[in-house]
């Protein structure tokens, strides 16, 4: 058991730090939840790709560096410490790509991944439906067999990034007579500009169109865009869900960097006699450090052949609640200035605390609510009996 880096890992970290220092935009990019910001972030993805930093763990053939998971953690620490822009490609890189590596064909990998790495194709996820959120197996949108492919029909919603993205991936009911709701689903990729797709942006809590609902009327998807076997979509999707809840969505670098900034804010602004606030700052540092060390241990376990499994549910609840606590503490530290929206010219720290708070509030809701995660933890990690939800 040790925390020391090899010279080669330390060199990788230095290389990432140097590149980021030379390339991270001096001014924050506009919010990626606006058309202007989305375009700017797409440009940043191209820049990252040019430096081969957009998907560091991928094989070099697809634009990656073939880096270890540990190096990915190190890269992410440097990335957030450098205050580099948010990743507009995250749905693709963190959710779709791992699924393709596990279930995709060689042709799909070669076609989809390089365009994803360069930012040429930005992906949205299309899982939820008006009647199927936490109970994802209740989804009703369908894929109907047709010559050479499938016709998608139905209504998807809360589709992150879909307001401006190029393509989407999601689950559809393809075999309606299946014995259980989890069976007879198919995992597909489709074009958001295809005939029959209507995208209606939905404003999030702060009004920005962070997600959208999708209306699908006989949208054609060729067989080449089915991931895994038709009818086996649930199994394919669950590997993506593990990725979504686990490490790849929220790397510890994000929280260690934010906790470090919070501590700096406390030192600069706080009344040392306010021990209640001090304790919350300390708890944010402790939580970020715990998450970071748990990630190192998790990476070691994965590297030695383990799978995230239900442990991803622990991770998801922990980071989502840490994220909110951390940002709420910062806003409380800022006092009256804490209410300024990110767009206010006088918003502290370019509005990043306010923006971060809005973003964090979604954490316990998406990627499977924390209530569902706690059920999974209790049933699969503690072995408690299943019961009514």
């Amino acid at each position: 058991m040790d925390l020391g880096l090899t010279a080669a890992d330390a060199e990788f970290r230095r290389e990432a730090r140097d590149w980021l220092a030379a390339h991270v935009p001096a001014e924050p990019l506009p919010s990626l939840e606006t058309a202007e910001g989305f375009a700017a972030h797409r440009e940043w993805e191209r820049e990252l790709y040019t430096g081969r930093w957009s998907a560091v763990t991928w094989p070099e053939a697809y634009g990656g560096r073939g880096a270890s998971l540990l190096r990915w953690l190190l890269f992410e620490e440097e990335y957030y410490a450098a205050r580099a822009p948010g990743r507009v490609s995250q749905n693709g890189v963190s959710l779709l790509a791992p699924t393709l590596f596990e279930h995709g064909t060689q042709e799909q990998l070669a076609r989809v991944l390089p365009a994803m790495a360069s930012g040429a194709t930005i992906w949205a996820q299309a899982w939820s439906e008006p009647g199927a959120g936490s109970d994802l197996a209740a989804l009703r949108s369908s894929a109907v067999r047709t010559d050479g492919g499938w016709l998608l029909r139905g209504h998807k919603t809360w589709s992150s990034r879909a307001a401006f993205a190029d393509r989407a991936f999601g689950l559809f009911r393809s075999h309606p007579g299946a014995d259980r709701p989890h069976n007879g689903l198919t995992y597909l990729m489709f074009d958001l500009a295809a005939p029959g797709v209507t995208v209606r942006p939905i404003g999030r809590l702060d009004g920005k169109p962070a997600f959208a609902e999708l209306f699908l009327e006989d949208v054609f998807v060729p067989d080449a865009d089915v991931i895994g076997e038709p009818g086996q979509g649930w199994r394919v999707a669950m590997s993506t869900a593990g990725n979504e809840r686990g490490l790849t969505l929220r790397s510890p670098g994000r929280f260690t960097a934010a906790a470090g900034r919070l501590a700096a804010l406390w030192r600069a602004t706080a009344d040392p006699a306010d021990t209640a606030l001090r304790d919350r700052v300390a708890d944010a540092l402790i939580g970020a450090r715990a998450y970071q060390l748990a990630a190192y241990a998790g990476v070691a376990r994965l590297t030695e052949g383990g799978t995230p499994g239900a442990a991803a549910s622990l991770t998801k609840v922990f980071w989502s609640e840490l994220d909110i606590a951390l940002h709420e503490t910062a806003l409380d530290l800022l006092g009256p200035r804490g209410e300024l929206a990110a767009t206010a010219t006088e918003a502290p720290d370019h509005g990043s605390w306010a923006d971060g708070w809005i973003f964090a509030l979604a954490g316990p809701v998406y990627a499977g609510t924390n209530e569902i995660q706690r059920d999974i933890i209790a049933e699969r990690l503690l072995g408690l009996p299943k019961g009514r939800r």
Binding site: D2, L5, G287, R289, A300, L314, I377, G387
Partner: protein, 352 residues
């Protein structure tokens, strides 16, 4: 970097666990609380036979060499089985004496081999961290640090009962001065971090035990015709306990790794205080203390009135969880330490 226990370490923990499971520790705890230390001494001797105390003692004094990760995982097991006695204090005293070296009248040469062999039960108090010594009347010797002065106590006051009857607390009066000066102050700081870390490890073990026992209970206890463990409110409460424990554990082991490095750095005159290891230890103490306490509250609530009885063994761990929370650094002291800087070193960086 490989931040996981290796197979040998994990097996050592399992061996200790099996030994303690077979030793009827609860009976020893209850006897200890009434002043009968014989069964507790028997447990202590069995523990010593596995080499636990030698993990805090360098080879030249008969120990296994200083092995903080193994020491830490041992103390998780001590917590899991609620072992009574000044085990934390004995290990902390070993670090104190080893740091002071042989310059001060051969203290290290006298006591460290006895500690390593399990022949010496040592109590230790540092007035900077609390007025009471644990089990001073039972221990073979009680060391007392007051500022930069180290004494061997020659008398202690009446037992001040703890919320955990197996923790027998007394105020100790100063005896012969064994050493004084800045070296004592520096060694005491490292001993206090030792005690803090091992207290955190014990708390983690206490919390694990409380969770295990409670999970077993809610699976078999029925109400409304079903196991209470099938109720979502029960599941969510236990999920929160597991969350707290799972994220305290890497802090505890991470602190052990850093602390080992810091002690080595100090030997090389880099300065223990500059390494940030004390911050990692403080983080571990806060997280493990909170996790154990969360586990205790949940265990009591989910056992219902049965959990509120002294007869059920659960009470040993519930009371221990409360006692360990304040020992060797209250949550408030540890949180203040976290913000006192510097941040932990190593591959992990808190950028500011």
């Amino acid at each position: 970097m490989r931040f996981l226990l290796d197979a040998e370490q994990a097996e050592f923990g399992r061996t200790l666990g099996r030994l303690l499971a077979a030793a009827d520790v609860p009976a020893a705890v209850r006897a200890w609380g009434t002043g009968d230390s014989a069964p507790g001494h028997a447990v202590w001797r069995r523990l010593a036979g596995t080499g636990v105390f030698g993990l805090a003692v360098p080879e030249k004094h008969g120990g296994a060499g200083f092995l903080p990760v193994e020491l830490t995982l041992s103390f998780v097991e001590l917590g899991r089985y609620a072992v009574p006695g000044p085990a934390v204090e004995t290990a902390a005293a070993a670090v104190l004496l080893e740091r002071l070296g042989d310059a001060d009248g051969g203290l290290a040469g006298t006591w460290l081999p006895a500690i390593a062999a399990g022949d010496a039960m040592v109590s230790y108090a540092d007035l900077a961290h609390g007025p009471y010594a644990l089990d001073a009347a039972t221990a073979d010797v009680t060391f007392l640090v007051d500022g930069d002065t180290l004494r061997a106590c020659d008398g202690c006051g009446p037992v001040q009962p703890s919320v955990d009857p197996a923790r027998r607390l007394t105020r100790c009066a100063g005896g012969a001065v064994l050493a004084s000066g800045p070296a004592v102050w520096a060694a005491a700081a490292q001993a206090a971090d030792t005690a803090r870390l091992l207290t955190a490890a014990q708390a983690l073990g206490v919390g694990r035990r409380l969770l295990d026992d409670t999970v077993a209970y809610v699976k078999q206890r029925t109400q409304f015709g079903v196991a209470v463990g099938s109720f979502q409110a029960v599941k969510h409460r236990l999920a929160d306990v597991l969350l707290a424990l799972e994220f305290a554990e890497p802090l505890v082991y991470g602190a052990a790794v850093e602390w080992a490095g810091a002690l080595q750095a100090d030997t090389a005159n880099h300065g223990y205080g500059a390494t940030g290891a004390g911050i990692g230890v403080a983080m571990a103490k806060v997280a493990a203390g909170e996790a154990a306490y969360t586990a205790a509250r949940a265990a009591l609530q989910l056992h219902g009135a049965l959990g509120y009885t002294d007869e059920l063994g659960l009470s040993l761990w519930i009371r221990r969880a409360r006692a360990l929370r304040g020992a060797w650094g209250t949550p408030a002291e540890c949180r203040a330490r976290v913000l006192a800087g510097p941040a932990p070193a190593g591959p992990q960086i808190f950028h500011e």
